[in-house]
């Protein structure tokens, strides 16, 4: 992936204080803060070329330049009703996907104004999360009513499943190898499926693998590690738990007295570290194996609810 001369490691956090902070991940120093006026930030993601960061807020998605000191957004995507709750990119930067409380998932053409890629996917409840399958061809949309919609982009075929009625799906994750899918809900339950994308004309086949109670309170996010061996779940109980995907045994519990809701997390490229974002205004870097806090990113004045992180693996 082109790097464009910027820092190979990028960490940004944002939340309710209308600011996006950029950190030196290894030292914990905030090196830049940009304002995100009029709205909190619900989700962040970095473009594959590491040039821009997208912040999803109320009725808009704004793109900021990562490698300059420009305090204002470069591009403002609007025309969305209500909150945008999820944002992400195709790995070649062809298009951007978003999900929102307007009951839709959208695909935005990024390359030009040709609108070739513009797609919209309507569901019946506010969308909480949208995840792109690593094969870049399927979107998994989790909604407030408890459905996970599997949308095969090429064929436009979609299926949906409801692992637990009346429990909102808060997050869906697919491991980088495309063999496992996890979904979590607001009852503290985590569901796991095995996947295989042998089908050519529709979304991957899903086989239920396991259901387990990962937390006693809401789970806000689940995420597979880049090496697919770990699954992190973050919860309203103030912890982030890391499970071994092999047997779903608890690997580490990341816990701190000051920590409150843990909203978001991201693994380092080698799956040795994890960064979490919490309502106590801090983000933290933890060692996955020991569960100790390595760095604290403090500076936000309100809850930190999302983060975006890019790391690179050197051989």
């Amino acid at each position: 992936m082109a790097n464009g001369g910027g820092d190979p490691v990028i960490l940004a956090t944002a939340g309710y204080d209308h600011r996006i902070r950029f950190w030196q991940a290894h030292s914990g120093i905030c090196h830049r803060t940009v304002q995100h006026p009029d709205s909190q930030v619900n989700a962040l993601d970095i473009t594959p070329d590491k040039q821009l960061i997208a912040a999803a807020g109320y009725q808009h998605i704004r793109m900021y330049d990562i490698n300059s000191s420009n305090p204002n957004a470069l591009i403002n995507y609007e025309g969305v009703q209500k909150n945008v709750t999820a944002v992400g990119f195709h790995e070649d930067g062809k298009w951007m996907y978003t999900g929102g409380e307007d009951h839709t998932a959208k695909i935005w053409d990024l390359r030009s104004r040709t609108l070739q890629c513009q797609r919209i996917f309507q569901v019946k409840a506010p969308v909480n999360c949208v995840t792109l399958h690593p094969n870049q061809g399927e979107l998994y949309v989790g909604d407030q009513s408890g459905s996970i919609h599997c949308w095969d982009l090429k064929t436009d075929v979609n299926e949906h499943l409801i692992p637990e009625p009346d429990a909102a799906i808060t997050s869906v994750s697919i491991d980088p190898m495309g063999t496992l899918m996890a979904a979590v809900n607001n009852k503290g339950n985590c569901y796991l499926w095995t996947m295989n994308s042998s089908r050519s004309n529709g979304p991957s086949n899903l086989h239920p693998k396991k259901k387990f109670q990962a937390h006693t309170k809401y789970i806000l996010k689940c995420l597979f590690s880049p090496d697919s061996t770990l699954l992190a779940t973050t919860s309203a109980d103030g912890t982030c738990r890391i499970w071994r995907t092999a047997d779903l045994s608890l690997c580490t519990e990341l816990k701190d007295k000051a920590q409150r809701w843990v909203w978001d997390c991201a693994f380092s490229g080698d799956s040795q570290y994890i960064i979490t974002a919490s309502s106590d205004n801090n983000a933290r870097l933890w060692s996955v194996n020991t569960g100790e806090i390595k760095r604290e990113y403090s500076g936000h004045e309100k809850a930190v609810v999302c983060l975006a992180f890019r790391d690179e693996v050197v051989s």
């Binding site: 803060t33 304002q35 808060t170 693998k209 061996t229 071994r244 092999a246 409150r260 809701w261 050197v314």
Partner: protein, 564 residues
């Protein structure tokens, strides 16, 4: 929708927003409904982003709203709210201006509106845009998962799959093979060559604060080589930072800029969590000279409190004696004096010192606290976790909870009285009104000294000569008594002076402000007590006799009554 995780705050916010602009009072309806709905949904789980059922379960609502009181309190009406006499411009004008401003900042921002695709999606035409990528086949992945062959899509009958031995067994060697990430490398590097120990103060750096109010300060470094001393280091600090945090930020930036001499050599070993006693911040002149007329800035004060922006950072400050002599009074039991080495010692440590020294037994339920000296501080215990430096006081009282300074303080009052009585021989004059039985009061000057009491008329024009009071002087030895006879509701008091004229006791009545009257009576009585002249003795004796007789007569009367 704002995703606040505090229901109370939200409802209060909505209500306030409505109340200020809604004169139909329909808003109350909305809120009542909303509240009711809110409670019914308490039982139902929902997404935390929607936060309807947070109130009972979680404790996450503290930080996003300042305090409970603020929520429950009535709404604030600010002068800039758009109604009534405060309204200066129309809503439209304001909105237009805001739009204009936004437009200015957005002029460089490209805005892209969502547009639906011009034609409906056809896989044949556009399918190539959404091609799937082949994922690399990895040997140790889910392909090893035993095939479940379950037709149902529910989790009801899923057998717990056996442990994936392949994945778990190969996990550790595979990690090594995969190499490390850049973040891990950077972390390791930083750990090996030591990070900036003042790291936690970096967040007060205004350069990265992004829109927060900041202050630029010029810091003269007293420990820099002489040729550099005149050149201040400028720092940009967030406006709310305390002096202590500013010191931390200076140290951080100093270390970060790799200035010499390094701080370790200046101040010895530095514990970043407790180095405030190593450095102190002083006011400085424009040329960098340390202003020694003032003590160092109190570490817990916000720097924004000080109007000036030039400070000097002094290491191991010799400018002010760091040690201080602290006096702690223990009511009824004298006082202890302590030499403390640093103004950063907490009040609790001081108190514990006294308690230990005094061997005061601490029983459960018996708590001690400290109060500053001075009458205005009575009943105001100091914050025991505060530092001595922030007290601006070096004398304290050790007070047991629910107790008072007791007679330690009243001793002081007695001392004062004693001093007054010793002063009572000195001449002092008062202007008072002399009360006559048959005519209006006349103003006189009452001069009192240890030997004499003079009554001098104050000449008032137009007063008939006839009525003028003659100037008289009484020898202090013939004054028998002086007491207040009446206090009036207008704040004045009448007092009486009894003197011996030949063989008879005579009285003069005077009227004065109550405080003056009290002072005169006390002064005269002090003199009488000290002199204890025969006249006084005689008078006191006769008074006592009278009282005794009275009592006897009462006794007799009552016994007579009882006899019946």
């Amino acid at each position: 929708m704002a995703m606040m995780d505090n229901v109370d705050f939200l409802i209060s916010h909505i209500r306030n927003a409505f109340v200020t602009s809604d004169d139909t009072s329909m808003s109350e309806w909305v809120i009542t409904e909303c509240r009711a709905q809110d409670e019914t949904e308490l039982k139902r789980d929902s997404n935390p982003r929607y936060n309807r059922n947070n109130m009972n379960i979680r404790s996450d609502s503290m930080s996003d709203c300042p305090s409970d009181n603020e929520i429950k309190g009535s709404m604030d009406i600010h002068p800039d709210m758009d109604f009534g006499a405060h309204r200066r411009r129309s809503n439209t004008a304001q909105r237009l201006e805001r739009l204009k401003k936004e437009k200015r900042t957005q002029s460089k921002m490209k805005t892209i509106q969502w547009k639906d695709a011009p034609e409906t999606y056809k896989a044949e035409e556009k399918g190539h845009l959404f091609e799937k990528r082949n994922l690399p086949e990895l040997p140790n992945t889910g392909s090893n998962i035993p095939d479940q062959n379950i037709s149902t899509t529910t989790f009801q009958n899923v057998p717990v799959p056996p442990v994936l031995e392949v994945t778990s067994a190969s996990s550790s060697p595979s990690k090594k093979a995969k190499g490390v990430s850049i973040l891990s490398q950077q972390l390791e590097e930083l750990d090996s060559h030591g990070s900036n120990p003042f790291f936690k103060y970096a967040k007060f750096d205004g350069r990265t604060a992004g829109g927060l109010p900041t202050r630029k300060l010029e810091i003269f470094l007293a420990f820099a080589p002489p040729e550099h001393r005149g050149y201040p280091m400028s720092i940009l600090v967030t406006a709310h930072a305390k002096a202590q945090e500013v010191v931390g930020l200076i140290c951080w930036q100093y270390t970060e800029e790799e200035r010499k001499p390094d701080l370790q050599s200046v101040a010895g070993h530095i514990d970043p969590n407790d180095f405030v006693n190593k450095f102190s911040l002083h006011m400085a002149e424009d040329d960098g000279e340390i202003d020694t007329d003032f003590p160092p800035i109190i570490p817990t004060d916000p720097v924004s409190k000080y109007g000036f922006t030039k400070f000097a950072l002094v290491a191991n400050a010799p400018v002010q004696p760091k040690s201080a002599l602290v006096t702690i009074n223990v009511p009824n039991r004298g006082f202890n004096k302590f030499q403390v080495d640093s103004m950063t010692v907490t009040m609790r440590e001081l108190m514990d010192k006294v308690i230990k020294k005094r061997k005061i037994k601490l029983r459960p339920g018996l708590n001690y606290t400290l109060e500053k000296t001075g009458k205005s501080e009575i009943g105001k215990p100091v914050d025991l976790d505060a530092m001595l430096g922030s007290m601006n006081c070096l004398e304290f009282y050790l007070i047991r909870e629910n107790s008072s300074r007791g007679d330690a303080e009243s001793n002081g009052e007695e001392d004062q009285k004693m001093a007054e009585s010793l002063m009572s021989h000195q001449y002092k004059s008062f202007i008072v009104s002399m009360v006559h039985k048959l005519r209006t009061n006349t103003e006189v000057q009452l001069g009192i000294s240890g030997d004499k009491i003079e009554i001098d008329p104050v000449s008032v024009k137009g007063t008939a000569r006839l009525f003028r009071q003659k100037a008289v002087t009484y020898d202090a030895d013939c004054v028998a008594a002086c007491d207040i006879t009446e206090t009036k509701s207008n704040g004045r008091a009448v007092f009486r002076m009894t003197y011996l004229n030949g063989t008879d006791y005579k009285q003069h009545y005077f009227e004065a402000e109550q405080s003056t009257a009290t002072e005169i009576v006390e002064k005269v009585n002090n003199i009488l007590e000290l002199k204890f002249s025969p006249v006084r003795k005689e008078f006191v004796f006769s008074q006592e006799k009278k009282a005794l007789q009275k009592r006897d007569s009462i006794k007799r009367e009552s016994s007579v009554k009882l006899g019946h």
